[in-house]
Subunit: 338 residues, 2 copies
């Protein structure tokens, strides 16, 4: 096996305690610099690698974060994870990832498992609205940061894209193009993104003086392509006059594309479509999707930063960060047919 601190101490002719102090940046000040050097040399010579398990047992900190996402395979969450990992790694933290597939029970289990593993903090991208897991965490005073989702009820830190701003930009874009019959495929009302985007859409109808009866909203069961198709079908059956649809997310927009194609309708000639998120490759579909760009990587990075700051200074208050988003105009939007 590899060398232990005791081996290093012996090789340097000091006691373990001294060796420990010499090797720890925070305590090296307590030790004579020449002794410290002797210890460091011995450590190098023996290829000493500290055992974080032993340290954790003593310090009650694992330098490990838990990250819970619905599905790491989802193009929205992968960059979030990457952002978390990058800043965590830079701060000496590792991150344990868990997928929930959006099932409350799995979320519960995964969080329990991560807590059992003694993670120092939990970053949740999977929080539902009014999620009991979040209340439990907050009650247990487990450092928690929400990302991509928001929880107005509990005092937890969170970072998310500016959902309302995004919808506003998309709406204005369609309006400026001349659309007056705009539909919304809303996300699940169990998600904060779903409800915020939908609420903002509703508000915009009034804001622009459009006729609510001509601007229908239909809610998707989940942020999935198939749900987007189904909603589009419902939408078009009930409101054939719609000239544009604003989807709560790119996946739903793609589903919308499919239903449109299935009906022989062309986008954007017959119907314009706007997505949300600007996932990778959404610029390669046909037509290239006009959507709202969200900086998911930055969201993850910021969440990790919040977490680490909080860990360093537990007295820090909760903080909610809203990341700016931006409209990316591509090929799926055009003026309505005359």
């Amino acid at each position: 096996m590899s060398a232990t601190l005791r081996d290093v101490a012996r090789a340097a002719g000091v006691h373990v305690g001294t060796a420990s102090r010499a090797l720890n940046p925070e305590t090296v000040g307590m030790v004579n610099s020449v002794t410290a050097k002797r210890v460091r040399d011995a450590a190098d010579r023996l290829g000493y690698v500290p055992n974080p398990i032993a340290r954790s047992l003593k310090t009650n900190r694992t330098l490990t974060l838990g990250a819970v996402v619905p599905d790491i395979t989802n193009p929205v969450f992968a960059p979030i994870i990457r952002g978390i990992e990058d800043v965590a790694a830079a701060a000496g933290y590792n991150v344990l990832i868990a997928n929930t597939d959006d099932e409350p029970r799995r979320e519960q289990e995964q969080v329990a498992s991560l807590r059992a593993r003694q993670v120092d903090g939990l970053i949740l991208a999977s929080a539902r609205l009014d999620d009991p897991v979040v209340s439990a965490l907050s009650a247990a005073e487990v450092p928690t940061v929400l990302v991509n989702r928001v929880e107005p009820e509990h005092p937890v830190s969170s970072v998310a894209g500016d959902d309302a701003g995004g919808i506003r930009q998309g709406f204005r874009h369609l309006y400026d193009l001349g659309h007056r019959r705009i539909a919304h495929i809303a996300g699940p009302s169990s998600t904060s993104t779903g409800v915020t985007r939908r609420r903002t859409f509703r508000l915009e109808i009034g804001e622009f003086g459009l006729n609510p009866a001509q601007c229908p909203v239909v809610e998707a069961e989940a942020y999935r392509v198939e749900a987007g198709s189904e909603c589009t079908a419902t939408l078009l059956d009930a409101h054939p006059g719609v000239t544009a649809v604003m989807a709560a997310n790119d996946l739903l927009a793609i589903g919308c594309y499919e239903e449109l194609a299935g009906r022989g309708l062309s986008c954007p000639a017959d119907i314009s479509v706007v997505g949300f998120n600007d996932m990778p490759f959404v610029d390669k579909v046909w037509p290239p999707l006009t959507t709202i760009h969200v900086r998911h990587y930055d969201a993850g990075a910021e969440a990790a930063r919040l977490m680490i700051d909080r860990l360093r200074d537990p007295s820090l208050p909760c903080k909610s960060v809203l990341l700016p988003v931006s409209l990316v105009v591509r090929g799926s939007t055009a003026p309505p047919a005359a």
Copy 2:
């Protein structure tokens, strides 16, 4: 803080050793079943959660696996990770993920960091051909499994898609369509996928009796969209007569699309394109990409299975699994123009 084993023991009126045995499935046989029940009840009552840190310190096993990928954001690697996580979780293992961005130095650092964290085994999706990291791991007898990449030189377990079979299927498809001037955009020769796919392509030229001078190969610097565009440009400049291109990967194929579009060439009317991997959304680009489907999730799952079997029984020999792949014909291939 939460209850410790000592608390449980006290509450149950037994000694820690007994409590430990009673709570551990593998040793519960050594303890009187009524005592065991008493201990279990006490544990439940106190909400006892074992501290894996303490256990690890004693047992030298962390029940944690390390997974090293170039980039978790890459649609090929996300499912691999997911496969790993799912089977790992089912076996009680957690997974620590590290990204290398395909930089050898980062790979080295990440592996070192994971080893320092005492992971029980390492799954590498980032291995280059003849990777010194792999030799080091094998020399240090760290349980290692390669996924998506293969290392013929060292005795390590690996699981990968059938690269040769995939290229053969794609080649035959193009040949059957009538193509005789088929080009290959090869992956980096630092990857086993790059060299195997390229070598097989070369072999197929002979196999089908085509003229090698009319079937050029150009190597991409990396599996990236831009590289695909550049290679296509080089290819078309030097061999304007090519009627089909077989890309070593979907990203390269998409890059090929872009260069084709840039030159006003149409796919598949002017040039057919075949990808490799069948990444998510590649069926949504235009034209829908004909490609080789690889079961990445299964690859990850199988890799984790190999790892866990090996951990349970270290005497098990190394194993190399080749996953079958299949051609998915979509819209990017057609007979050559007359």
